[in-house]
């Protein structure tokens, strides 16, 4: 509170209530006497438009931000951009002026989690944080402070936190492993083809599309138009999902599958394609490692140094039928795709033969038993997929890869695409809507060389905090991250409660803030500068500052800069936001000023940005047609060297999911329903959870349950039910429908723990070091009426 006002008002009135006219400027706290400037302000200033970009983990659409009289009045689509923002992007208007927007820094005054808060000044907040972080660093080392930030796809907020964390420990930090979204997708794509691709615009060219565990009608609304463009030209759309999703409803066929068994279905399709000779032999021989030889005894790829004088350990071997001997893959005249051979006394077999054997038991009937999909549907889909070209598997960051089998599921769909020669084909491939990290913010992230002393899997925050793994964490600096997205969320809250110190930096008071010591209000997207260059498209966007931060909110950059000054490394934070962005853009030849003038810029317009080696004389280019596979063999790898080296199974390999009848019979007896979490059109993860426009569509969470399962439990549509397992319990309304498989329930994801209806409270936090993926869709629950 303003001391001078308090003293003045107090003193003045105590003396008899005389009003000090002469000093009326200071009598009024809120108002000062009007100046000429105030009167000169035009009553209706002209509307100003700046460009920005929606930055959640979504489509990253280009936005036009309309401002009048310093007030945000409208968000509209950029007419010069290929996608148009959906209802979420446009509701950002309400985000900015939401009545629950954090307006001041707060400190906890009651017990942790008790909900008693006191407004404090920025100075007090920053001094408190600096003192606590310094104390913990001195006593326990910098790695005892865990820094974490949310899924913001733009650069600035997270790069600034990374820089601060790095400088705070002079490079020593506790890192994270994996991700909540797509680490299985990324891992399998990297292992098989070398990197991920975002073949977004190519969707319009597809003639056959499988949306596999993917619901773009709500999750990628701006891209849905492209899918419909293909459909208008006659493309067929098949959706595989345990739930009759919005995309399934618009498809030519819905295939209902048991969660976590998708890999078995894909392996059956691989088997059909191989057995029925539906594969693309040219691609198999020339661009994949299917003809490579594998040592039968070790199960490893045969290397040239094992069989050829002076051969390299890095190079592989095929069987050349022209010479009846081992040969270099690129020089063999007639490499054998199939067969067993003996090379230098080593028993070897081609990858193709081993793959044929691997999938041999996955007959349509056997796969049908595992997946619950009728055998004929599997056969029909395999034929349709293999005989229509280009055919795309549109998996997004599929729900099917958010299972304990996720990595091999993604490998299996990549294998399907490669076997049918759909890779490197416009409208083919596996579209995972991936992003591009250009790594240009490395200079910002790492003022000191990074030294990750320990790492915490992102799905395991609760367990690691509570069990002091890999060592005790004493403080958490939590920035803009939805705690209700982390599986087993109750455990994460427990873990945060035992911390000595928790800082939360947010727009709204979310779950993590409820157990924080200090909560800081942060400027939104339109109240600061940012840049998008790791987006769901090939574009660079400037996100210009359109308005001043709301009330006492400050940008993340400002906060870290002020903290750095207090902690003795202010010299590492001397730039303005625009200067940081110019530094990020420096290798690209772009700048804040140039992007402000030009609007979004296509990445390949500058040769320096061409990280993937796109052949530039050929425009438009296509991935894997115009770019190489970035794998050890330079080919698409069915038997992946990356996993062989890491000691993991290198080829597709089905295992029943964690938490199912087969793997956890005791748990299944108590909790016989398989829970999947579906994304909905009013949220991106937990973002937008409280926007009034969007809440009109879905005011509350619910659980979708099959009508037979509901009947067996005496549940009617609209009843309040409890969904529960050993991890927690959530009370929601039941949506009873035949539009979900029997034995499966679905909860829309994105509500916060403090709002109730948070599905992650129940989610499995199992993870595997192969990708440290998120396995929320391998979860068992029971439902009962309340």
């Amino acid at each position: 509170m303003d001391i001078s006002r308090r003293q003045f008002v107090g003193g003045g009135l105590a003396l008899g209530g005389a009003i000090a006219v002469g000093s009326s400027g200071s009598v009024l706290r809120g108002l000062g006497l009007g100046t000429k400037e105030a009167n000169a302000t035009p009553a209706d200033a002209k509307e100003q438009i700046t460009y920005s970009c929606c930055n959640p983990e979504c489509n990253n659409c280009s936005l036009q931000v309309h401002v009048r009289n310093g007030k945000l009045v409208r968000i509209s689509p950029n007419p010069n951009y290929f996608t148009k923002p959906c209802l979420r992007g446009r509701s950002r208007l309400q985000w900015n002026y939401h009545p629950d927007r954090l307006r001041y820094p707060f400190k906890r005054v009651g017990e942790r989690g008790e909900g008693k808060w006191e407004r404090i000044s920025w100075d007090e907040a920053l001094d408190t944080i600096a003192a606590n972080l310094t104390k913990i660093r001195n006593e326990h080392g910098p790695e005892a402070v865990f820094f974490t930030a949310g899924a913001v796809m733009s650069v600035m907020p997270n790069a600034m936190q990374r820089r601060f964390a790095n400088a705070f420990g002079k490079g020593v930090m506790t890192g994270t492993s994996g991700s909540l979204c797509c680490s299985s997708q990324a891992e399998a794509s990297n292992a098989s083809q070398g990197y991920r691709t975002a073949e977004i615009e190519a969707m319009a060219y597809s003639k056959f599309m499988i949306c596999w565990g993917h619901n773009p009608a709500v999750t990628y609304i701006p891209h849905w138009r492209l899918i419909n463009e293909a459909r208008e030209k006659g493309a067929r759309l098949v959706t595989i999902d345990p739930r009759f999703s919005e995309t399934a409803a618009k498809s030519d066929q819905w295939i209902s599958i048991k969660p976590g068994t998708d890999l078995a279905m894909a392996m059956a399709m691989i088997r059909i394609i191989i057995e029925e000779n539906l594969y693309d032999e040219k691609f198999a021989l020339e661009r994949s490692n299917l003809p490579f030889l594998v040592n039968e005894e070790t199960g490893k790829l045969l290397r040239q140094n094992e069989v050829m004088a002076g051969g390299s350990e890095e190079a592989f071997v095929v069987w050349d039928q022209a010479t009846n001997g081992a040969a270099d893959p690129d020089h063999a005249l007639s490499p054998a795709l199939e067969g067993s051979f003996t090379v230098n006394g080593i028993q070897v077999r081609t990858v193709f033969s081993r793959l044929r054997e691997r999938v041999a038991s996955y007959t349509p009937e056997h796969a049908s038993e595992i997946t619950g999909v009728p055998a004929q549907d599997i056969v029909d889909l395999a034929y349709a997929y293999a005989t229509t070209k280009p055919a795309m598997i549109n998996s997004g960051m599929s729900g099917a890869q958010r299972t304990s089998n996720g990595v091999y599921f993604v490998q299996s769909i990549l294998n399907l695409a490669a076997l049918t020669g759909n890779i490197g084909v416009r409208g083919g491939g596996v579209n995972d809507t991936a992003g591009f990290g250009h790594g240009t913010n490395k200079s910002i992230n790492e003022p000191y060389p990074a030294d990750w002393v320990g790492r915490i899997p992102v799905t395991k925050l609760g367990e690691y905090f509570l069990e002091d793994k890999p060592y005790p964490i004493k403080a958490v600096y939590w920035q803009g991250k939805g705690l209700g997205q982390v599986p087993n969320s109750n455990k994460v809250l427990e873990g945060l409660k035992k911390m000595d110190f928790v800082v939360v930096q947010e727009h709204f008071f979310g779950d993590a803030a409820s157990v924080a010591d200090i909560v800081l209000p942060v400027a939104t997207l339109f109240e600061r500068y940012d840049v998008m260059c790791a987006s769901r498209s090939f574009y660079y966007h400037l996100m210009d500052k359109a308005i001043e931060p709301f009330m006492e909110a400050k940008s993340d950059t400002w906060i870290y800069t002020e903290l750095a000054k207090r902690m003795g490394f202010g010299e590492l934070f001397e730039k303005t936001e625009e200067e940081w962005i110019d530094e990020i853009l420096e290798p690209t030849g772009l700048s804040v000023e140039s992007l402000r003038k030009s609007g979004p810029v296509w990445i390949w317009s500058d040769a320096k940005l061409n990280r993937f080696g796109v052949k530039r004389e050929k425009a438009p280019f296509y991935f894997f047609e115009d770019t190489p596979f970035n794998t050890p063999s330079g080919r698409f790898e069915f038997h992946t060297v990356r996993w062989e080296n890491a000691g993991y199974e290198p080829m597709v390999n089905y295992k029943p999911p964690e938490e199912c009848e087969e793997t956890a019979p005791d748990l299944f007896a108590k909790y016989p329903l398989s829970l999947v979490a579906n994304k909905i059109r009013t949220k991106v993860h937990s973002t937008y959870a409280i926007m009034p426009w969007l809440s009109e569509i879905y005011p509350k969470g619910w659980v979708t349950i099959n009508d037979e399962d509901a009947k067996a439990r005496g549940i009617k549509d609209g009843d309040m039910v409890e969904v529960f397992n050993d991890r927690g319990s959530v009370k929601v309304a039941a949506h009873v429908t035949p539009g979900i498989r029997k034995g499966v329930v679905a909860m829309p994801n994105g509500w916060w723990v403090t709002q109730g209806a948070c599905s992650s409270v129940l989610s499995n936090d199992y993870t595997h070091p192969q990708s440290y993926g998120h396995c929320l869709n391998s979860t068992l629950v029971e439902v009962r009426r309340v």
């Binding site: 509170m1 303003d2 308090r6 003293q7 008002v9 107090g10 009135l13 105590a14 209530g17 009003i19 009326s24 009598v27 009024l28 706290r29 809120g30 108002l31 000062g32 006497l33 009007g34 100046t35 105030a38 009167n39 302000t41 009553a43 009289n69 007030k71 945000l72 309400q94 900015n96 002026y97 939401h98 009545p99 629950d100 927007r101 954090l102 307006r103 001041y104 707060f106 005054v109 009651g110 008693k116 808060w117 006191e118 407004r119 709204f508 008071f509 803030a513 409820s514 909560v519 709301f550 009330m551 006492e552 009034p692 426009w693 403090t754």
Partner: protein, 195 residues
């Protein structure tokens, strides 16, 4: 007669200013202001005196440590979450229930037309209850009766009831329950008188 009216205007002006001070974060220094408020309110709105006495006594009982009031103040007006009685006009006046609405801009423009603007140091919004009350004080003090009546009728009176209701039902302390009552009572009397 003129003298009586002048005296009444002074009383009302002071009540507005003192009520306004009650809508900033509470501090022990509020005590002398409440003593004053009690006196002034007795003169022009005697029904409210008991409520102000309750407020004064509660502050006295807290003897320097006003944490309980600060926490209640935060719950009611500033958050950090689920603000029980948002102190901004636009939240009640507009369909969307947002802050910084069109009415906020209109209020700001009203200040400008009278020749005032928000102190740039003041990071709060122009339609905050404290600012609006303070503005009414200014208008009375300057004898700008027409603007006083207009502002009260257009911008404050329409939301004071739902606001005070929310405050009264949300408050955990007698202090803020009583503040809600006296604010509502005084303003509804003013509305009738000025109409």
């Amino acid at each position: 007669m003129t003298r009586v009216r002048g005296f009444e205007q002074q009383a009302k002006a002071n009540i507005y200013r003192l009520l306004s001070a009650c809508y900033y974060e509470p501090c022990p220094e509020l005590k002398p202001l409440l003593v004053n408020l009690e006196d002034w309110i007795q003169l022009v709105f005697p029904k409210g005196t008991a409520d102000v006495s309750v407020m004064r006594r509660e502050l006295e009982q807290q003897a320097g440590d006003v944490t309980e009031l600060v926490v209640d103040y935060a719950r009611l007006f500033i958050g950090p979450f689920n603000v029980l009685a948002p102190p901004y006009g636009s939240v009640y006046l507009e369909k969307e229930g947002q802050v910084m609405g069109d009415s906020t801009v209109a209020v700001s423009r009203f200040y400008q037309e009278v020749g005032l603007k928000l102190d740039p140091e003041q990071k709060d919004l122009p339609d905050h209850i404290a600012v609006e009350l303070e503005f009414l004080y200014y208008l009375i003090f300057r004898r700008r009766d027409r603007e006083y009546q207009q502002f009260l009728e257009l911008y404050l009176a329409p939301w004071i009831d739902p606001f005070c209701d929310a405050m009264e039902s949300g408050a955990r302390t007698e202090f803020y329950r009583s503040l809600a009552k006296v604010t509502r009572g005084f303003l509804s009397q003013e509305k009738v008188l000025s109409a």
